[in-house]
């Protein structure tokens, strides 16, 4: 007989004091009736969801449920694939990201992204990797770049490990360090939001723990949306959780509630491991 008990998360107590009060927080994203098509295939089906500010929102769901597509729609990265179509609206602090006068490059400067596979630029040093976003957006002031370099690497908890090796190639770092370098690179342009697309799926448990700790610290300054395959990770790092299935948002709420007392049958089945 399948147990309907929610899975117990050993780090649950970490969330007790940060228990979010759902209604009070200001919102970073307001997503309304969002539908996305790739060619004929509908990847996202009328999703309406608010992403609260200065909190970690995780998106979970089985493969192909549209969670990555949804994440990428938050900074218009999904548009890079051919033949995409979008309906509905995504508001970033009240501004519609998809109105015709909005430049996707500006959107992406405000909404940074960290990818599943760490991807430092192989032709650039560690230092250049971090400041490349600023430099290519026209910042020439070397003093400013140096300050931002150190600040970003410190925020990504990488400064102490690389401060002597800033000139070495970014690809010389270990996998976990590379991923933190990518986080530093994303933070250097001072976005308002950081999107993370399964940032730990290629990392070992120790590197994963470091990134999760980092996510925990970053949320004081940034709004974070993270897609993860790992439900324990969602439970550990996030304040809110959205469960996607077949392109639909099945349930969204405080992580503690989603994991302990989900309202929807499908959420419960997924979380208790009955499918997915």
């Amino acid at each position: 007989m399948p147990s309907s008990d929610p899975i117990v998360l050993e780090t649950r107590d970490r969330h007790v004091e940060t228990e979010p009060e759902t209604e009070e927080r200001p919102l970073t994203f307001e997503v309304k009736n969002l539908s996305i098509w790739y060619g004929e295939k509908r990847a996202i089906d009328s999703v309406t969801m608010d992403v609260p500010s200065n909190a970690v929102t995780s998106i979970i769901g089985p493969s192909g449920c549209g969670k990555s597509t949804f994440l990428r729609a938050l900074n218009r990265m999904h548009e890079l694939l051919p033949r995409t179509r979008l309906e509905g609206s995504v508001l970033l602090r009240g501004q519609d990201l998809y109105s015709t006068d909005v430049d996707p490059a500006i959107v992406r400067r405000r909404v940074g992204m960290v990818f599943q596979k760490s991807n430092p630029f192989p032709t650039m040093s560690i230092g250049d990797n971090v400041v490349i976003g600023l430099r290519l957006n026209g910042v020439r002031d070397q003093k400013f770049l140096n300050e931002r370099l150190e600040k970003s690497l410190r925020m990504a908890a990488l400064w102490d490990e690389v401060k002597e090796d800033l000139h070495k190639p970014g690809t010389s770092l270990s996998g976990g360090q590379q991923q933190r370098l990518c986080i530093a690179r994303a933070l250097a342009v001072e976005p308002e939001v950081v999107l993370m697309d399964e940032p730990c799926s290629a990392l070992d448990p120790i590197a994963t723990a470091k990134i999760e700790e980092l996510i925990h610290e970053l949320k004081t300054k940034y709004t974070i949306v993270i897609v993860t395959h790992n439900m324990q990770q969602a439970g550990r790092v996030s304040d809110y959780t959205a469960f996607f299935y077949l392109g639909r948002l099945i349930e969204f709420g405080p992580t503690t509630k989603i994991f302990s007392n989900p309202s929807e049958r499908q959420t419960e089945d997924y979380i208790t491991g009955r499918f997915g």
Binding site: N75, M77, L80, P82, A105, I106, V107, R108, R109, R110, G112, M113, F115, K117, N119, P120, F121, P122, T123, I132, G133, L136, N137, T171, C182, R185, A186, V189
Partner: protein
């Protein structure tokens, strides 16, 4: 029963040996021409290569000695002119194929480039003769450079496209996600990552056109003297070799051998350079 099996075993061994020997002979036949060419050039040409060859102009008919310095410099000038036309158009076209354009348009462009790569090189000479030489009423270095440049374009276009497609998509996404404009992403991230491959493609194209004779016959035309005016006919190593080789004079024949040897060594060096570059390319595309 056992002996029959043994027979089969022996027969299998013989078949295997036959096939091995066949492939070995074929491989030998592939390498042999290269060795023969080098050997022949060395035997016939090496003796005529001396300081004069690289510093003197050709002597008048009958006078012994002289060199091909004008042809060597002329070839370099023609390669430079060809690069001015072929490199930017080829590289930018390759970038367009890899980064922009619609799938259908691109496959058509690719097909056209492949057809152009197969066009006999003398055709380019005829085309430039008709378009440039007749119109401006004269053979010129410009016309020769244009003919070679036109040959370069599809070559560079295809190699550039290939190495740009090798750049992992993650790098493009990472740059775009930083709010970097598309063209800056392509120039500073994608092309920079693929730069060694692009340079390799350019070098291969240069090595290919460096030895072309046919497109120069009625464009650059050749010249026995120094020419510092690019709107006048200019000497080129392959042309000089051609002229000397079909002449009736023994001394010119020796010079033709020497010229061929210099040309082959030059192209060989470019190919070695390409090998060095491609060997180090692995980390950049990782």
């Amino acid at each position: 029963m056992l002996s029959k099996r043994q027979d089969q075993h022996t027969w299998r061994k013989i078949k295997s040996a036959l096939v091995s020997a066949g492939t070995f002979l074929s491989a030998l036949l592939v390498i042999a021409p290269l060795g023969l060419v080098f050997f022949h050039l060395l035997v016939n040409g090496a003796s005529s290569i001396n300081w004069d060859f690289f510093t003197q102009l050709p002597k008048p008919v009958g006078a012994l000695g002289g060199g091909m310095v004008n042809a060597i410099v002329g070839t370099l000038e023609l390669l430079a002119l060809a690069s001015i036309i072929g490199v930017p158009i080829g590289v930018l076209g390759g970038v367009y194929l890899a980064e922009y354009g619609s799938a259908r348009g691109n496959s058509m462009l690719r097909f056209i480039a492949d057809v152009l790569n197969g066009v006999p090189s003398i055709t380019w000479g005829v085309v430039v003769y008709g378009l440039v030489v007749l119109r401006f009423k004269g053979f010129s270095a410009y016309a020769g450079g244009l003919a070679l440049g036109l040959i370069m374009i599809p070559l560079i276009l295809r190699t550039t496209e290939e190495v740009i497609l090798l750049v992992p998509n993650g790098h493009r996404e990472a740059a775009l996600a930083l709010g970097i404009a598309r063209w800056k992403t392509i120039v500073h991230v994608v092309m920079k990552t693929a730069s060694k491959g692009i340079i390799t493609g350019i070098l291969i194209a240069l090595a290919r056109i460096g030895g072309e004779t046919a497109p120069l016959l009625f464009t650059a035309f050749g010249n026995r003297f120094w020419n510092h005016d690019l709107s006048q006919p200019i000497a080129a190593l392959p042309l000089q070799i051609f002229t000397y080789a079909i002449s009736p004079y023994d001394d010119w024949h020796r010079q033709a051998w020497a010229g061929a040897l210099v040309l082959v060594i030059g192209i060989f060096c470019v190919n070695v350079l390409v090998r060095i570059l491609t060997r180090e390319r692995a980390p950049s595309t990782a």
